[in-house]
Amino acid sequence: MIRAHVLICGGTGCTSSGSKKIQEAFAANIEAFGLSDEVKIVQTGCFGLCALGPVVIVYPDGTFYSRVTEEDVKEIVEEHLLKGRRVERLVYNDTDAASEIADAATVALSDTTFYKSQNRVVLRNCGVIDPENIEEYIAMDGYAALGKVLTEMTPDEVIQIVKDSGLRGRGGGGFPTGLKWSLCAPNKADQKYIVCNADEGDPGAFMDRSVLEGDPHCLVEAMAIAGYAIGATEGYVYVRAEYPIAVKRLQKAIDDAREYGLLGKNIFDSGFDFNLHIRLGAGAFVCGEETALMTSIEGNRGEPRPRPPYPAVKGLFGKPTVENNVETFANIPQIILRGADWFASMGTEKSKGTKVFALGGKIKHTGLVEIPMGTTLRKIIEEIGGGIPNGKKFKAAQTGGPSGGCIPASLIDTEVDYDNLTAIGCMMGSGGLIVMDEDTCMVDMAKFFLEFTVDESCGKCTPCRVGTKRLLEMLDKITDGKGTLEDIDKLEELCRYIKQNSLCGLGQTAPNPVLATLNFFRDEYVAHVVDKKCPAGVCKNLLTFTIDKDKCIGCGLCAKNCPANAISKTDYVAPGHKLPSYEIDPSKCVKCGVCMSNCKFKAISKI
């Protein structure tokens, strides 16, 4: 009889920090201690706290072990699973009452600060079930929503409940999902399609990947429900080939669902047929744009097409198509089972439900969080995210990746939902949230995202292809210290032109990082142009490294490590020191900063 479950995260984050080996070690040790009949190992999807991986949870206690190494496994098996003593040094606990919790009591995962404020709807099964086992999904009410829809509801009723829930597209745009479905449903055609956009391309975003890895059946079920609602019998999931674990698990989910008769012909004896296919993308950012994505599925080069006609009328293979993002779909089964009112009770007036964010950048708890819409940025960063490491100050957060904008520290109390973010010139985006501290140069940050869009622009329309390139050149000029105030105005003008004239979302949003930083951090641009200084000390061409000759004790470590031989001995011996000090030749200095990190006497500074 199984009395304990050991859940080991098999998401991409923990896999890359070695969770496969941990799993093997657990299997070997459990066998060695003769516990094979009592303890079961389950490989799950992402728990969310990727920064602390590999992550292991032992149930029924719910003990959360973080940063587990192969050497720790024997101890956990012997102490915890055999003798019932938690291995305290590995237990993750950030609760305030940490020290008061007695040995017998449990620090439940849900009590930790990281999880306490979260509300897991989309991620409810991630880190709980084995994603490769269809029966575990069924045990968690899986496919009950599909059953209910096919046996009790008409397609119109399904669309109505999605409309009533207030669910909006989680891919970034925030278009009402129910409305999207209702625009497609009445269109007559011999074939209609459901398409799932799993082409998650923003740097730093991994929400969709985690759903695919942790709960793939949820997507399969939701797409079948959407198919029934609009009268489509075929579905495609477009997922990038860089997500091998996600692709493998999704394929297994589709195969298993087919075997159990949850895909295929005459599902639940209702006469409804639905089939699902995976199409792999080669990783072009533009293929995350809905029309380019469909063009790519059709086997052509991924380029957007002009709208109208909209996909609801003429989409994939020229047929009426509904395309939604992974996270949007993942909400559907819950809405069907628990009702529109339940869903609408979460969130704000115009943004219902929850949103998954991938926290990254300068933050303690890098990972995945799901929070109700309307949670303040302060709560996300300071409470759930654990704040900024190394005592640095929060400067801004970038939402929506290369299509989004930044929220400055002064607006940290903004309630995060679609409309509030749009109002301050940002966008929700798909959910990447990159946190920046005081050491980040905002001009450099805008440049980083622009480099990305210049690379990823498909080249079909001129404003995007040429415009973004010119923008980048201007930013280069500014960060090189060669810019003028006029350049800043020109930059802004070109941004607006590109936004208005580009063919698809990629170009229309590409200038956003520049516009947002210009809006909130214009003084930094001015500092680069007028004072020829980078306030954050990032832009190399504006930095000068100098040695304080009175602090320098003449050890020569800087000169020894300088890759450009730019540091040499002087004749000056500072009072109280025995050796002559060193100096940097600015004409030879490459501004790598090696001297500064080597100097133990803090004699080198950058201005």
């Binding site: 019932g84 709980v128 045990a139 059953g147």
Partner: protein, 123 residues
């Protein structure tokens, strides 16, 4: 899949296997599993408890887990039952059969098995 009943059957079959992870804690049964407990035969007691709880269909309400040394080594194997709002009940010198009786009478029936409790032993 031809019917909702079929789906329900799979769900019922699997529910006991995943319920362990939901951590619903209406009632906690804890077995002392330090060296003293194991030496005195705590493992068969633990296994009997898990089995009996599952058989009685209470797995979604009752958590069976282990703990370290409770401190009364001469009375091992010790089983403690924690119920919210009630005083802790401590059973001592347990074995597999006694464990089954505790599940049947106390956990299912709500009546403490006075024969095995520590207070009785002191008397």
């Amino acid at each position: 899949m031809k019917s909702l009943a079929e789906l329900q059957a799979i769900k019922d079959k699997m529910k006991n296997k995943v319920v362990l992870r939901e951590g619903s804690n209406e009632l906690r049964v804890v077995v002392g599993m330090a060296t003293c407990g194991i030496a005195a035969g705590a493992r068969p007691v633990l296994n009997a408890l898990v089995e009996a709880v599952n058989e009685s269909g209470l797995a979604d309400k009752v958590t069976v887990s282990q703990t370290g040394c409770i401190g009364l080594c001469q009375y091992e194997p010790i089983v403690e039952v924690f119920e919210p709002g009630k005083e802790k009940v401590t059973y001592v010198k347990m074995d597999a059969d006694k464990a089954k009786r505790v599940v049947e009478e106390h956990i299912k029936g709500g009546k403490v098995v006075a024969d095995y409790t520590i207070s009785d032993l002191n008397a």
